[in-house]
Amino acid sequence: MSGQQAVLRIPAGTSELKEVSIQPSVIVAGDHPAGLLMAEHLADLGVAVTLMVPFPTLEEVVAPYRVIASADESVAGLLQEVAERVSQHAGITRVTQADLVDISGWWGDFSVQARIGEDLKTFHTSGIAMAYRGNPVDLPGIPVQEGVLPFTDFLSGINLQTGALAGKAESPKQVVFLLDAGERDEKWASVAAIRVGVFLKRKFGTQVFILCRELKVSVDEMEQDYRAARESGIIVFKYRQTPRVEKGSGGLRVVFEDAAAISSHGPSEITLDALDVVVAQERLGLSEDRAEVLRKLRIPLEDGVAGPNNPQFTGRTPKKGVVVAGDAWFPEYPTDAAMTALSAAQELYKWVGKGTYQVDAYRVAEVDPSKCATCLTCFRICPHDSIRVERYGERNVYITQGAKEGATWEAARVKIETCDGCGLCASECPAKAIQLIYYPDMEVLDFLAKNL
């Protein structure tokens, strides 16, 4: 019968509320426009924002996105003037030529080390937002060679007035966009290829080919844009295996099998010859030093970015008080990246905007320092980076004869402000030194003893 079973529920309610006061301050750092949007949003809400960008000016943060902005009004609407607005915003302290080097601490009390020019400087803040561009990690399946450009290099290198690429005098006659050769489900390159392709075709008469495994059109207004692309003469091919890119007579040559062709004479191979430039969608990931900062905070990365581990919570990380946007979250088209940035900023506002917070000191884990063997299991497994080893225990297993009176010993300690009470630490502790205060082992063991 349904509903007749013995059930042990997690004890409801709370008993111990602790008031903590949190200064409404954040540091927003990074080289992605998402950072500017987050800084502006948080400053508008009254949070004291310190914005760190690695360049001499804020304009350089949006510069690589100017080509997409020219081709797409909705991106232009987002990026146009955001750098200017942020550079004049009274609620934002701007620090240029600055990059985050290290972060330690917790929600409400982060210590941030930044390299500013040649100097290292320490900042204190309640919350942190990071918005980084992805670095090209590799071009999946395509050997790097002359004439093959990573997509982001192409976007930042093209001259908007002449259509010429960096180091060239005139615009290329043809451009081949080679898309989604990688494994990850990214849409940005499909959208950018279509919209920038139409722009190049119309403004400079460039012949544009788009080669893809699948064109991702599940984006606002992409159906119309796709039609516009077809009508303006952009040719889209679907390939099966990653195309071969090789040196041909008078330029590059791209050879692939057309997945859409139906032929009774076997596979239909298509060759595009005498090409000026092949733009290949690269795999984007965080640079190693930035990835290291995230790893230190125990923010898990997958394939070099933070997003895939956390699909439900846009921009949010398991570390309370830290949000991530831009390619560091997931490589997205600028309008999507802006949405991620705004929800990340709102998430952060929730944690730093209110001033005082009630923290439940009951629905958390607690270490018994006298049993702790300082094995670091809890420190390593805590998904929220909420446990540290501190010198506070009255005794531990390593106590020796003749220890001084009042001496303290190292033991793990849970930071209750950021503990979510999941119990992972308690279940892994080999010394059984950790209990969930609200749901100790005895509750479960008693239930088993009584009902079995």
Partner: protein
């Protein structure tokens, strides 16, 4: 010897297994009376000690209902739970017991049907064994 009405302890993650159980109840689906349900804040709280203790106290089987991979609110709780289950299954085989006495079952919150089916499948496995 397993009785006609085997005792099964279901450790249920508060985020998935528990809502799935409640869903099964609300749908009026058949669940055996021998089922004992223990809610946990995360599948990752299903420690090896709990799972073995349940068998030790006389349960015929233990099931861990946790979130699907990539869905854990606490990043890796479900993965830890699955690894512990696999570790204990190996150990059970070594002491001459069926590994099917401990199973890991990823479920979605609104999958009462699947919850009931998995429990029934476990009952069938136990009775068939």
């Amino acid at each position: 010897m397993v009785s006609k009405n085997p005792k099964i302890v279901a450790f249920c993650c508060e985020e998935s297994g528990m809502p799935a159980y409640e869903h099964a109840v609300s749908l009026g689906l058949d669940l055996p009376d021998g089922l004992k349900v223990v809610a946990l804040p995360c599948g990752g709280k299903a420690e090896t000690g709990y799972l073995m203790k349940a068998l030790d106290e006389g349960a015929d089987a233990v099931m861990v209902f946790a979130c699907y991979e990539g869905n854990c609110k606490y990043v890796r709780g479900n993965i830890r739970a699955e690894k512990r289950v696999n570790y204990l299954r190996e150990r059970l085989e070594k002491i001459g017991l069926s590994p099917e006495k401990i199973v890991f079952c990823p479920v979605a919150p609104a999958s009462g049907q699947r919850f009931a089916e998995l429990v029934q499948r476990e009952v069938d496995t136990l009775l068939g064994a």
